[in-house]
Symmetry: D2
Subunit: 284 residues, 4 copies
C-alpha cells in the first residue's frame, strides 16, 4: 500500500468545510481513501477524520505541513496529522497483573498494530523477567508513601528520554498526579475494571458482587486529573450470575479488560479518536 496522510480536524461549524478540505486534497493530486465526519449540533462543533494518498510526486511531510497551515488559517480549526507509516513509541506501565501486558505485547509482535513498544515501567518486579524475554527494557521503580513525587520525576525523565508518544496503564495500580499528567505531554490510556461510572475507585469487582449486578464491565479511557473520570474510548460487558463470587468476577473480567484495552489502543494508534469536553468522538 502507498503511504497515506490522516488528519483529525475539529472546530466551530461553518459552511463548506467538507468541500474545502476535499478540494484542497484533490487539487494537489491526492486521493481520499476514507472520510468521516460528525456535527455536534448542541455545541455546533464539527469533527472530521480524513485519510488520503497524496500524489506520488509530493513529499509527505510537505503535504502534511501545508495541510496544517491551510486548516489553521483558512478554516481556523484545530488539526492533528499522522502518517500511515508512523510507528509511535509506546510505554507500558504495570504493577503485578500480567494479562493486559501479554495481550498488548503479543498484538504488537503479531503485527496487528503499527507501534514500537519501547519499554515497561513498574512499581513491582514481578513482570521483569517476562518483559526481558520479550526483549523489552524493564524499569523498576518502587513506590511508597514518601517517594511518590520523586518516583514520578524519574518516570517522566525516562519517558522523555525514550520519546514516548503514548503511555498505556495496563492495570497499573497507582494514581498518577496532575503534575505527572501535565509533564508527560502525551496521551495516557487506562483500563478500569468496571463499567464506568459504576464502581469507580478501588475493588470494582467486589463492589459489583456486593450490588448483585447481572453484567460486569470494563472501561478504557484517557487519564485526566479526575480519577476514573476521563473521556471514555471503549467499554464492554460480560454476563454474570449469582454463581460468580468476587474471584470468578475477577477471572471473567480479565478477558474483558484485555479486549477493551486492546480496542481502545488500536483506535488510538489508528488515529480514530478525538477527545472533546471529556467525551470522545471515535471514527470507526
Amino acid at each position: 500500500m502507498k503511504p497515506s496522510v490522516i488528519a483529525l480536524l475539529h472546530g466551530p461549524d461553518q459552511p463548506g468545510i467538507v468541500a474545502k478540505v476535499a478540494t484542497w486534497i484533490h487539487q494537489r493530486g491526492g486521493n481520499v481513501l476514507h472520510a468521516d465526519q460528525h456535527l455536534d449540533r448542541q455545541e455546533n462543533v464539527f469533527f472530521q477524520r480524513v485519510e488520503w494518498e497524496p500524489d506520488a510526486d509530493r513529499n509527505l511531510q510537505e503535504e502534511s505541513d501545508e495541510f496544517i497551515s491551510f486548516v489553521e488559517r483558512e478554516l481556523t480549526m484545530q488539526v492533528r496529522i499522522a502518517l500511515s507509516e508512523d510507528r509511535p513509541k509506546v510505554a507500558i506501565m504495570v504493577s503485578k497483573a500480567d494479562h493486559c501486558f501479554h495481550d498488548l505485547v503479543l498484538r504488537v509482535r503479531a503485527g496487528e498494530w503499527n507501534a514500537e513498544f519501547v519499554g515497561v515501567l513498574s512499581n513491582h518486579q514481578e513482570l521483569q523477567s517476562v518483559s526481558e524475554s520479550y526483549g523489552l527494557p524493564f524499569v523498576h521503580i518502587p513506590v511508597n508513601q514518601q517517594n511518590k513525587v520523586e518516583v514520578e520525576q524519574r518516570q517522566i525523565s525516562w519517558l522523555r528520554e525514550q520519546g514516548v508518544e503514548l503511555v498505556i496503564l495496563a492495570r497499573y495500580m497507582q494514581i498518577l498526579s496532575s503534575e505527572f499528567l501535565q509533564q508527560v505531554s502525551c496521551p495516557v490510556i487506562n483500563i478500569h475494571h468496571s463499567f464506568l461510572p459504576s464502581f469507580a475507585g478501588a475493588k470494582p469487582y467486589h463492589q459489583a458482587y456486593q450490588r448483585g449486578v447481572k453484567l460486569i464491565g470494563a472501561t478504557a479511557h484517557y487519564v485526566t486529573e479526575d480519577l476514573d473520570e476521563g473521556p471514555i474510548i471503549e467499554q464492554d460487558v460480560a454476563r454474570v450470575s449469582h454463581r460468580h463470587g468476587p474471584r470468578e468476577l475477577i477471572e471473567k473480567g480479565r478477558d474483558l479488560e484485555k479486549l477493551v484495552l486492546a480496542t481502545a489502543v488500536r483506535r488510538h494508534l489508528q488515529n480514530r479518536v478525538l477527545d472533546y469536553q471529556n467525551k470522545t468522538v471515535v471514527f470507526d
Copy 2:
C-alpha cells in the same frame, strides 16, 4: 403436559438437603423435572429450585402443603410453592410511555406467559383507549403534590380488590412510598432506563449522554424503599456512539427496556427468582 409443583427453598446450609428433598418427592411417587441449587459460601446459605410432577393420584394442593410442612419443620428452611397451572393476577402501572406496556400485553396475549393481566393503573389518561382496546380495565388516578397519600390508598384498595399478585411498573414515573410497598403485599418489578448503579434517578439517558458512555443499559429490579437500589433481576446494554444524542439514546433504549423488563417478568412468573440480601438468585 401434566401439572407440576415448583418449590423455591432457602436457608442455612446443612448436610443432606438435596438428598432429603429428592427422597421426599420420590417416596410419594413424584418425578423431578428440574432441580437447580446454589450455595452462597460467604453467607453459608443454600438455595434450591425444584420442579416435579407429583404422582397422578396425589392432590396438588395436598402435595404442596405437605411439602411446605416438611421443609419448614424438618429442614427449618423457608419455602415458596407455585403450581405450573397457576395464572397469577398481574397489574401494570404506567404513565405516558407505551412501549413496555404494549410489549407486556402482547406477550400475554401470544400465550408466552401464564398470567392474567387484570388492569392498568395510571396517573395520566394517554393509555386509556389502548388499554380498553386490549380489554383491560384502566384506572386513572391523577397524582399531584398534595394528594399522593390518598392516591396510593386508592391504588392499594384497587390492587387488593383485584387480588393482584404482581405489580409491574412499566415506565411509571412516580416514586412509590414505603407505606405503599408495605401494604401492597406482593412483589413490584420496575424497569429503570440505565445500567444501574450508573445513572440512578432522573433522566438517565441525558446523564449517559453527558458522561459519554459507549453502551447504554436498562435494569429490571424489585422495588424497595430505596429508589433504584432494589435487587436486580436482569440487565442488558446496547452499543452507542458519539452520533447518538439524548433523543437517539431514548429511542434506542426503548427496545432495551422492553426486552429487559420482559425477561425479568418471565423469570418471576416462572418462579425462577429468589431475592436475598438485596440480590437475586435467578435459576434459569
Copy 3:
C-alpha cells in the same frame, strides 16, 4: 428541523468524487449534515451517502433533479435521492404469526419511522381483525397449489394501486416467484429465522436444534429470485443451550426476528442501504 436531501451514489472510483460532490452542494448554499463513503478496493467501486440541507431559497425538487443530472452526467455514477420529509408507502405481507407484524405497526404509530403503512396482504385470515383495529386495510387472498400465479397477479395489482414503495415480508410463509419480484418494482425485505447461510429453507429452528448450535440467529435481507440468498441487511444472534427444545427456540427467536427486521427496515427507510453484487453497504 429543516428538510434535507439524502443521496446514495455508487460507481467506478475516480479522482475527486468527494470534492466535486461537496463543492456542488456548497456552491448552491447547501450545508452537509452527514457524509459517509466506502471504497471497495477489490471491485474499485466507490459508494457514498451524503445528506444536506439545501439553501432556504432552493426548491427541494429542483435541487434533487439537478443533483441527479450532475452525478449522472459529470460523475457517470448511479444515484438515488430521497427527501427527509418523504413518507414512503409500505405494505406488509403476513401469514399467521403476528409478532413482527405488531412490532412494525407499533413502531410506525410511535413515530419511530417516517413511513405510511398502507395495508396488509395475507394468505390467511388470522390477522384480519387486529389489522383492522390498527386501521389498516386487510387484503385476504388464499393461496393453494393451483392459484399461485393468479394470486400473485392480484397482489401485484393491489400493491401498484396503492403506490407501494416497500414490501415487508413479516413472516410471510410463501415463496414469491421471480415474476412477482420483477413486477413489484420496489424493494422487498424478508426476515428469515436463522443465521443465514446456516439453515436456509424450512423449519430452521428444528434444523438448529438438530445440529446443536449454541446460538440461534435471524437474518433480514432483500428478496431475490434465489430463496434465502438475497443481500443481507442485518443479522443478530441469541445464546441458547441444551435446555432449549425446538419450541423454546421458536419462542426465543421471536424477539430476535422482531429486532432484526425492525433494524433492517429502519435502515432502509433512512436510506442507509445500497445493495451491490448481492451484498449491502449499510451507512450507519
Copy 4:
C-alpha cells in the same frame, strides 16, 4: 478448598435417580457442592453433573470407584468421574498461526485451569522457539501427501507416551484421519473459524466476505470423523460491516477464536461437557 469428586452421568430416565444419587452421597458423609441435571424429553435420556466433598475420612479413589459401581449397577447408567485435584495432560497441535497457542499457554501459566500442557505437535517449525521459551517440548513432524499415515502413527505414539488426556487443535490446518481419532483414545477439541454449520471447509472468512454476512463467528467442537460436523461445545460471533475485507475479518476473527476455544477448553477441563448424539450438554 477440600478436594471434591465430580461425576457426569447419563442414561435412560427412570424414577428416583436424583434421590438415589443424593442419598448415596449423603449416607457416606459427603456434602453436595453443585448438582445440575437435564432431561431430554424427546429421547428420554437423563443427564446429571454432581460435585461433592466426600467425608474427610474417605479415600477419594475408593469413593470414586464405589460411586461408579453404584451408578452402573443400581442405576444402569453411564458415568465418568474426575477429581477436583486432577491435572489432566494436554497436548496442543498447531501449524503456523500462534494466537490461540499463546492464549492457551498463558491461561495455564496464569493458573486459570487445572491442567498440565505436555507439549506441542506441529507440521511446521514456526512455533518451535516460542514453544521452547515456554518450556514446552516441540515435536516437529512435516506432513505431505505421501507420508500422512506414517506421520499420524508417530503423532499417536508420542501422544500415548506422554499419557495425553486431551488434544487441542489450536488452528492445526490438517485433517485427522478416522484411524487417528480411533487410536488417540482421548477427546480432541478443534476451533473452526466460522459460525458452523455456515462456511465449513476451507477459507471460511473468504466465504463470509463473499456472502456479505453481518456477523462472523467461531465454533469449538469435538472432532469426529466428519469434518466440521462434530458436537459443538461453544460458539460466538462478532459484528462486521462492508468495511471489513477478508484481511480485516481474519484479524477480527483471531480474538473470537481465542475466546471460543478457551471457553470450550475450560468447560471440558472442568468436566462440564457431556456429548451425546452429536450434540453437547454443557453444565455451567
